[in-house]
């Protein structure tokens, strides 16, 4: 079984548009949306959820005010500024900052603190007209999205095994941190979608460092290449120096946004259009 992750360094370069189109073009595959923080693939593929599973990430410290003597030891212990004394209230745990490490639980002399599990999000397995899709939604203000990414990939792997699929198409997380690393671990190829802007070039450099660091083969595709042709050349040259292949140049076309508004993958919305053809070429190169 092959795994392909589509990433972009930062969001907004058209990564999900491309994954949505690959969902149409690829055969015998399972889809995985690993952008669990801000998943968008479902807006194109309209999954019908068949399994929904609670995701428990990090725990949270809970304070029993009937036992607390306001001694402040916990606040001194906490390295994450999650326990603060505010003007309005006594020592309280800020759930948005608590990383569930348990240090305060250990130091509280009154045993007023306990670590409790919390539901940090949901993982889904769904049916789409393009095949099975694993996805998730992290609750807001949560950490450990890397673990949720891993859970999504595991769901996708199981589905692919059950259905005898030979490909998993992964919409990767943005950035270079935990979620993106979890989206890339052990995949066969990373397709990096970039755009011809100075920021795009800068982010591409960083994400290529990440894939190299983890020994993952990468190819690049330049989206909206014609909005700044000089920069596209610069990116191509940069990739050549790094020994990375550029597998496609996709032109800018408002049809991409129109397809998004229609809630459809662009290759389906605009059959035979220039963008669709370019995406098909990219798919032809990497499949």
């Amino acid at each position: 079984m092959k795994q392909l992750t589509i990433i972009s360094g930062k969001g907004g370069t058209g990564k999900t548009t491309i994954v949505g189109s690959f969902a149409v073009l690829a055969e015998n595959k399972v889809l995985a949306d690993c952008d669990v923080d801000a998943p968008d693939l479902h807006l194109l593929l309209h999954p019908e959820i068949i399994e929904r599973e609670e995701f428990k990430g990090v725990k949270i410290a809970v304070m029993d005010k009937t036992l607390c003597t306001e001694c402040g030891t916990c606040a001194e212990t906490c390295r994450f500024n999650a326990i603060v004394l505010t003007e309005e209230s006594d020592y309280t745990v800020n759930p948005a900052r608590c990383e569930g490490c348990g240090a305060c639980v250990f130091t509280c002399p009154q045993e007023a603190l306990t670590l409790q599990e919390r539901v940090s999000g949901y993982a889904f397995v769904s049916r789409t007209k393009y095949g099975t899709m694993a996805h998730a939604q992290l609750n807001i203000a949560e950490e450990a999205s890397g673990k949720l990414v891993t859970a999504v990939r595991e769901n996708a792997r199981q589905a692919a095994e059950q259905e005898g699929c030979d490909l998993i198409l992964i919409d990767g997380a943005p950035g270079i941190g935990c979620p993106v690393i979890a989206s890339l671990t052990g995949v066969d190829l990373a397709l990096i979608v970039t755009e011809p802007t100075m920021s795009g070039l800068h982010d591409l450099e960083r994400i290529l460092d990440v894939t190299r660091h983890f020994g993952i083969g990468s190819t690049v595709c330049i989206n909206k290449y014609d909005i700044n042709v000089e920069n596209s050349k610069r990116i191509t040259e940069f990739c050549r120096q790094r020994g990375v292949e550029v597998v496609g140049n996709i032109p800018y076309d408002p049809v991409v946004t129109e397809a998004m508004v229609a809630g459809m993958p662009v290759v389906e919305f605009s059959k035979g259009g220039v963008v669709s053809d370019a995406i098909k070429d990219v798919w032809g190169c990497i499949k």
Binding site: T16, T107, I140, G177, P196, F214, V261
Partner: protein, 284 residues
């Protein structure tokens, strides 16, 4: 006054808004904190002269084997599975998993665990090419997973005597909270598309939880549909500014040039937006 600029997802123009706003306010002392430590971009637009680069560190445990008796108490205490005790041999530390919480050193009955700093990235400080903006940004090392401690360290550089603008990382998870917390106001940047709307709604939820007042900047106005506007009207969120989908603006962005420098009429619009925000914050 601390104003953060955020968006549910990257690539919506958050950095563009942060940078152009900072430049427009050149009459007042401005500090820009780029907390998007995974992919910092503000410096690309500001060409800062970097005056200081310092390592950003977290703490990881270090075991003193003269004291350790392999009792095994530290490993199960760690909530992140960053420790494994191999009896009579070693206490293995997995630094990428360690959150630096300090619990294991508290737990160890032999006082065998001390902590040592580990570099996770760097913090750079400088002044923009034209000398008007103090810029601080963090750069997470490749292969590092934890952005939050680095964001906290960027924010530790905050200068309350200035107007502070924070470029917030994309998303809705912990790093966003770390960056946005403590702001007087948050500008949410979105695109008028279904993706933009979905991610905007998530970002709105975050700000509601944090009780930070906010308004919207619609970037690339004119593309997509009207749903973002309808949503804002229905739930009563002010639209502070619309930046049209304009070839010249897109061109500036692609070249790494702040568009308000090329199109000065925009400076006034950003200044106006700022006074609108100030008025709101002082009323509260």
């Amino acid at each position: 006054m601390i104003i953060s600029v955020a968006s549910g997802k990257g690539g919506t123009g958050k950095t563009t808004v942060a940078v152009n706003l900072a430049l427009a306010l050149s009459n007042t002392p401005v500090q820009l904190l780029d907390c998007d430590v995974e992919e910092p971009n503000a410096h690309i637009f500001l060409n800062p002269a970097i005056e200081e680069t310092k390592p950003a560190q977290t703490l990881v445990p270090k075991v003193n084997y003269e004291l350790c008796d392999y009792c095994g108490k530290c490993a199960p205490a760690c909530e992140y599975n960053a420790l494994v005790v191999v009896p009579q041999k070693e206490v293995m530390v997995f630094p990428e998993l360690c959150h630096g919480c300090g619990l294991c050193s508290l737990v160890c009955p032999q006082d065998a665990i001390s902590e040592e700093p580990r570099e996770i990235g760097v913090i750079k400080k400088g002044t923009s090419g034209d000398g008007t903006i103090d810029l601080v940004y963090g750069l997470l090392n490749i292969g590092e997973v934890m952005a939050t401690p680095l964001i906290d360290q960027v924010k530790a550089e905050l200068n309350p005597a200035k107007t502070v603008i924070i470029d917030v990382p994309p998303g809705t998870a912990c790093p966003v909270i770390a960056a946005v917390q403590g702001s007087d106001y948050c500008i949410l940047v979105t695109e008028p598309t279904p993706f933009g709307l979905y991610d905007l709604k998530l970002a709105v939820e975050v700000l509601r939880v944090l009780k930070i007042p906010f308004g919207i900047v619609v970037n690339k106005a004119g593309i997509g549909d009207r749903k973002v506007y309808e949503y804002c009207e229905n739930v009563d969120i002010p639209i502070l500014l619309e930046i049209p989908h304009d070839k010249r603006i897109a061109r500036c962005y692609s070249e790494g040039v702040p568009f308000a420098n090329k199109m000065p009429e925009w400076k006034e619009r950003f200044v106006k937006m700022m006074s609108q925000i100030e008025e709101y914050v002082y009323e509260q």
